[in-house]
Subunit: 292 residues, 2 copies
C-alpha cells in the first residue's frame, strides 16, 4: 500500500515553498520562489497552485492522491478560521483566508498553522522530540519563536498566541527584541546578538566556532539568557524536553552548555535541552507535519 | 434522581479536613482536625476514615453512595501513582501511597492532586473561571502556587511540576521566595510581602484597606510584580482569564489594578484578571472538584 501523500506550503518573508511529501515527512519534491516576486497575495496563491500542480504532474500523481494540505506561515494568524492576519514579514497579506482559498483551488482539505508551531510539531513527530508528550520548541533563529507540545498535542492558547516566548521579559532592561527591552528575543535570538554586537549573528557564530574568545563570550551570554528563559518554561510547563532550532543546531554546546548550566541552577525540574534534528529542511517538514 | 455524592479530603500543613459534597461542590457536611494532632500519617489516615464514616452516618448515607474520593494535598506528589512525596509542610509524610490507602479503606476510587491544581479546577468548574477553556489560577496566598487549565483540562506536566509559578524569576535579585531571590513568590506572595516589610501580609493588607499610604504602596508594588508574572503567563499560555486567590480576594483592586496596568503594558494579548469566587471554602471545594 502506498504511503499517504501531503502537500506543504511554507510561506515566509523571503521565500515561499511548495513541497510534496509523505506521512513520514519524506520530501518527494519541492519548488520555491521569492516572496517579493508577487506583491499581491492572490498572485502568490496562483503561483503556489501552479507549482503544486507541476510537482504532482512530475510525480505522476493526481490531486486526489493528496490527503491534506498543510500551510505554515508567520503569525499573527487565526488557525481556527484559517486566516492570515497582517504578518509583519508579509506586507499586503491582510486578513487573507488562505486555508479556504487553497482548499478551494485544489478541492482538498487544508490546515493553517504559524511557522513556530508547525516547526514544533515537525520536531516532535519527526525530529529530536519523537516519543515525548511534553516538549517545548524554541526557534532560536533571527527571532525567538516557540511552540508548545503539551499532553501530546499542540497547544495554541485562547487566540493562537501561546508560545510567544520571545516576548517574555527576562530582565528589567537590556537589548530590544519583539519591541521590548530585556525580552527573551532581545537577549537570546539572532536579532538580539546583532543588536548587542553590531554584527550579524552568523558572523559572530562563525567566529565563535573558529575559537575567537570575544565571540565565544557573546554566544555564551546568549546561551545563559537562553537558559534563563528555558528555566521559566520548565517551572511553568515541566516539559520532558526542550528542542532548540537554528542557532543551537549551528553552535551546539557553545550555546547550549551555558543554557544547561543556568537551567540546572534556576529550574525546579531541569530537563534535557537539545538541538533540533531537522536542520534546514525544517520549513518543508513543518508544513507537511501539520497536514498529518 | 439524587445528585452524585463525593468525599473530599484536604490535607494542609495546619489542618486536615474531610468533606461530603455533591457534583456541584455543594458542601453537605465537613469535619476537620489539626494536622499536628497525628504526627504519623497512618494515624491521620485512620482519623480521616473515622470522620468520613461519621459524616456519612449523620447524612444517612452509605459509603456505596460515594462516587469517588478527591484528595488535595501540598506538593510535591505523584498524581499518577497517587503518592505524597515529602511535602515541606507535612513532616513525616514521605512516599505515602495515600490514594491507594484511602481507596482501600473505603472500597471506593480515589484521586490525588496537589492543592494549587485542585483549587484551579475548583475555580474553573465552580468559581470565577466557569465556562473558560484556558485559565490560569494563582493562589496569591502565603506562597504563589499555580494551576493551569489548558484546552479544557488540567495540565500537570511531565512530573507533576507544571504551574510552579512561584519559582520563576522576575528580577536578577530581590526578596526570597521558593528559595530564590527575585522570584515571583518573593515579590508577590504573602511570604514575600512579609519578607519585604518585616510584618505579616495580613497586617499590611488590613492597613492598606484602611487607607494607610505606606501599606498601599507595598500592596501596589506586589500588584505590579503580580502583573509582571501574569504577563509572562499570558505570553506563554495565552489564557482567556487569570484567577487570583486569597490576597486578591481580600484586597481586590488595591492589588489587581496595578497588576492589570503592568499586564496591559507587558503582555502581547492581555486577559482579564479577577479574584477567585470561592473564598474560604476553596479548600473543601478543591477536594470535591478533583473527585468529579
Amino acid at each position: 500500500m502506498m504511503a499517504m501523500q501531503y502537500l506543504g506550503v511554507d510561506i515566509g518573508g523571503t521565500k515561499i515553498a511548495v513541497v510534496l511529501g509523505d506521512e513520514n515527512a519524506t520530501i518527494l519534491a519541492a519548488e520555491r520562489f521569492p516572496t517579493a516576486r508577487f506583491p499581491r497575495p492572490e498572485d502568490a496563491l496562483d503561483e503556489i497552485e501552479r507549482l503544486a500542480r507541476k510537482l504532482l504532474e512530475q510525480a505522476g500523481m493526481r490531486i486526489e492522491d493528496i490527503e491534506r494540505i498543510g500551510i505554515s506561515c508567520g503569525g499573527p494568524l487565526d488557525s481556527r478560521r484559517g486566516m492570515v492576519l497582517s504578518p509583519p514579514n508579509l506586507p499586503g497579506w491582510d486578513e487573507v483566508p488562505i486555508r479556504d482559498i487553497l482548499s478551494r483551488k485544489f478541492g482538498r482539505p487544508a490546515v493553517l498553522e504559524n511557522d513556530a508551531n508547525a516547526a514544533a510539531v515537525a520536531e516532535w513527530l519527526f525530529g529530536a522530540g519523537r516519543g515525548t508528550r511534553h516538549m517545548v520548541f524554541l526557534t532560536c533563529s533571527t527571532g525567538m519563536g516557540g511552540g508548545l507540545i503539551l499532553d501530546g498535542r499542540l497547544y495554541r492558547g485562547f487566540r493562537d498566541l501561546a508560545g510567544e516566548t520571545g516576548h517574555i521579559r527576562l530582565t528589567d532592561d537590556g537589548p530590544v527584541g519583539y519591541g521590548k527591552a530585556g525580552s527573551f528575543e532581545g537577549w537570546a535570538s539572532g536579532m538580539g546578538i546583532a543588536a548587542q554586537t553590531g554584527r550579524s549573528a552568523e558572523e559572530v557564530g562563525r567566529d565563535a566556532l573558529a575559537g575567537d574568545p570575544a565571540a565565544i563570550v557573546v554566544i555564551a551570554r546568549a546561551g545563559e539568557m537562553l537558559g534563563r528563559g528555558i528555566a521559566i518554561l520548565c517551572d511553568l510547563l515541566n516539559p520532558e524536553l526542550v528542542v532548540c532550532g537554528t542557532m543551537a543546531i549551528h553552535l551546539g554546546d557553545l550555546l547550549l552548555e551555558p543554557a544547561r548550566r543556568v537551567v540546572r541552577r534556576e529550574a525546579l525540574d531541569p530537563c534535557p535541552i537539545v538541538p533540533g534534528a531537522l536542520g534546514s529542511d525544517i520549513g518543508y517538514k513543518a508544513a507537511l507535519a501539520i497536514a498529518k
